[in-house]
Amino acid sequence: MNVDIGNAVRKNEEAETSEERIVLETKDLNFYYTPEVKTLKNINISIPEKKVTAFIGPSGCGKSTLLRCFNRMNDLIPGVKLEGKIEIDGQDIYSPEVNLEDLRKKVGMVFQKSNPFPMDIWENVAFGPKVNGVTDKVELEELVVSSLKQADLWREVKDRLKTSALDLSGGQQQRLCIARALANKPEIILMDEPASALDPISTNKIEETIEELRANYTIIIVTHNMQQAARVSDYTAFLMTGDLVEFNSTSTLFTNPDEKLTEDYITGRFG
């Protein structure tokens, strides 16, 4: 596999130099789906604020699992166990005083398969604010419009807000899901292969959207597509069989990785 990353690296260089605040940090994180199998092994990672961080790695290495630890979606699966700590803004998100709904409001998520609700477009975007207690009509309207604009969908749907979200194209549905997550005014947005099911043009659109969001949000994106990781991210984490092999600035990781394993992977020797 040949990775053309020259442009992307140059673009991201200046970002590395500026001062960064860590917004999300894991400490010795272990995760088990079943007591015997350790899916994540001793992960220590610090995600900087208002940057795009990409998770790459071979299929089944635990990228999605790690991502889903950040908004505690793994809690839904019976029998899982988590060791270690995950702190967001210095607060352990697994401590009992954390309100799950508040956490998920703060840490939004976009799934691999777009999952718009079977309602109209407007209701889809307003869903998050509504369940989180926003009742004011004007405020809701404002949130819906601004979220759709940020997700780069407004121009396409502004005349059909009351039609079913299921009638949108695949790419539009995914951007709707991004808008839906944005309406909650999250700090962190988790994206699990948001473009893997989309055609190149729609993928491009999603990447443009991420480009626009990067100034205001911390974005963590899982991707299989290394060009994509190189294009959109500031930092990249390489995971393999549950281990965090390397976490580095994207330019370093793709041009001059510290680890031999990383180099093998990005040059396509396996994976």
Partner: protein, 546 residues
């Protein structure tokens, strides 16, 4: 051998077998519905009246009901086959029977007399005969040959109008007497039960006197008016000659209607048919349910099904929600599922017995002791009623609703549920906004199945509140408008009652088919309503097709 093996392997035989199975099912359904329709729909058609003269001089006037071949053995031990005809001759009060079988060989003459009249009566079934004379409404000499029959109809109208006036008067009198009789029962009850002191009873007796005095003048007036009306109505009479020349004189108010089918055109018969169908659908039954309408039974059936649905849907849905969304999946939940599924296989009479034991005796009895102790020992809720019957059926249909709802819930895409939670919704918000709307079609499927099962049940109802003849509907204009403790009528039970319990099974048989047809129509209509609702919802909540 090899050929046979490959024949089995290819499965061609199974195509035939499955197709045969389907064909057989369709055939049976068509057969059942067909028989019921043919036998049920013809009931109201006014067939011609025929006059039979027999060798032995007997004459019968009536409608051909049935024909049959019979084997007869004569004196010499020789067997011969004869065709027989069953004729409905009516006039039960004269002949003591409604039907007569005659040998076709014995018929000397058969004719359809133009002025043969069929009389429908409130009691004693039909009459067949010829009108000889009647008390006219207008002056006697205005009647001639041409307007004889229409004048007779006018007299009937007059008599029926008087009849309803008499009923009104009677009701007025009853209403006037209600407070008095209430007070009297109270007095006698407290005398028996010794719940009141002598002085109190004395006081009540004074009240009784007071009421008596206050209404006596009005009562006397009403009663004299009633008497006058009754006398007047008894004076409007008709003399009828039967086939064998007997003449009978009856007051006209005993008739519902009379008509001459032999003179009616097809259009007139069709109109008459529709009137009869309408009467069947909208009126009360007469003559121990073998005549008149079935309105109370329709009403009871529909109301019971609605009450049952109201009861079963919330419970079934909540149970299914808990099982799927909250309960920890494991052995216990599996056992509960199994138990619910098995509940569907319990014979319905067992549910009936449970309903009687639990709802009627325990629940109803307790309610009576707590809230209706003044009327005890006369039970209010402690006896069968539409509420208990509906609840029993709700229990019976609960498994269907639970299973169908579970299927609906399972069909909700996991991605949508996760999406909702990931947006910070609580679990309950997720259930309310995502799961329930999406499971709605499944829930309604459950309702449809429940209605189909519930509307057709008879056995459990027989011991929890259905009666042959309910004095009043469970829904009426007196407070509190819906009377859940009342007994009710039901089409399914009506079929059983008319077909097997009535004194005159022969005459009632067509009614059985007609009622069965109606029950099928009602079940289908209720189902169509639910299906229509489900399709509407499906359109609204079609799931993501990505």
């Amino acid at each position: 051998m090899k050929r046979i093996l490959s024949f089995w392997k290819r499965g061609d035989s199974f195509i035939l077998i499955t197709a045969g199975g389907l064909l057989f099912s369709i055939f049976m359904v068509v057969l059942i519905v067909g028989i019921i329709m043919v036998k049920g729909l013809g009931f109201f058609w006014p067939s011609d009246i025929e006059l039979f003269q027999l060798k032995n001089g007997e004459r019968f006037l009536g409608q051909v009901w049935d024909t049959e071949q019979a084997r007869l053995t004569d004196k010499n031990g020789k067997v011969r086959i004869v065709n027989q005809t069953n004729i409905k001759i009516g006039n039960r009060d004269i002949y003591g029977r409604d039907f007569v079988w005659i040998n076709n060989d014995d018929i000397v003459k058969k004719s359809t007399p133009k002025n043969g009249v069929e009389f429908e009566r409130w009691e004693y079934g039909n009459m067949y005969g010829f009108i000889k004379s009647f008390t006219p409404v207008s002056s006697k000499d205005r009647i001639n040959k041409d307007n004889f029959f229409s004048e007779a109809q006018k007299s009937l109208k007059k008599a029926l109008a008087l009849k309803s006036q008499i009923e009104e008067k009677q009701n007025a009198i009853n209403k006037l007497l209600t407070p008095l009789s209430k007070l009297q029962t109270e007095i006698s009850l407290s005398e028996i039960n010794k719940t009141r002191s002598k002085a109190e009873i004395e006081n009540l007796r004074k009240q009784e006197e007071g009421i008596k005095n206050s209404i006596s003048a009005k009562l006397e007036l009403l009663q004299s008016e009633l008497l006058k009306l009754k006398e007047e109505n008894a004076g409007i009479k008709m003399t009828i000659v039967t086939a064998d020349g007997k003449s009978v004189t009856l007051p006209l108010y005993k008739f519902v209607r009379f008509f001459r089918p032999n003179q009616m055109s097809v259009m007139e018969k069709a109109g008459f048919y529709l009137t009869k169908v309408w009467e069947f659908l909208t009126e009360d039954p007469r003559e121990s349910n073998t005549e008149g309408g079935v309105f109370p039974a329709i009403f009871g059936t529909v109301l019971m099904v609605i009450l049952m649905s109201i009861a079963v849907v919330p419970f079934g849905v909540l149970a299914a929600l808990y099982l799927n969304e909250y309960a920890k999946q494991g052995f216990i939940v599996r056992m509960i599922r199994l138990a619910i599924a098995n509940l569907a296989g319990v014979p319905s009479i067992v549910f009936g017995i449970f309903g009687l034991g639990f709802f009627v005796y325990i629940l109803g009895g307790t309610i009576d002791r707590l809230f209706f102790s003044s009327t005890l020992p006369e039970p209010t809720f402690g006896t069968g009623g539409i509420l208990w019957a509906s609840l029993t059926l709700a229990l019976l249909t609960l498994p269907v609703v639970v299973v169908a709802t579970e299927e609906g819930i399972l069909a909700v895409p996991k991605a949508n549920k996760e999406g909702s939670l990931a947006l910070g919704s609580t679990k309950w918000q997720m259930i309310r906004k995502i799961v329930l709307p999406n499971a709605m079609p499944g829930i309604l499927t459950g309702v449809i199945l429940a209605i189909s099962r519930g509307a057709g049940e008879v056995a459990p109802l027989m011991i929890t509140g259905v009666v042959k003849l309910a004095p009043s509907l469970p829904l009426d204009g007196t407070f509190p408008f819906i009377h859940l403790e009342r007994k009710f009528m039901h089409l399914g039970f009506h079929i059983y009652d008319v077909g097997f319990q009535s004194p005159n099974v022969e005459a009632a048989l067509p009614m059985v088919y007609t009622t069965a047809l109606l029950l099928i129509v009602i079940v289908v209509a209720l189902n169509l309503l639910a299906i229509y609702m489900r399709n509407n919802l499906k359109k609204k909540y079609k799931t993501s097709t990505f």
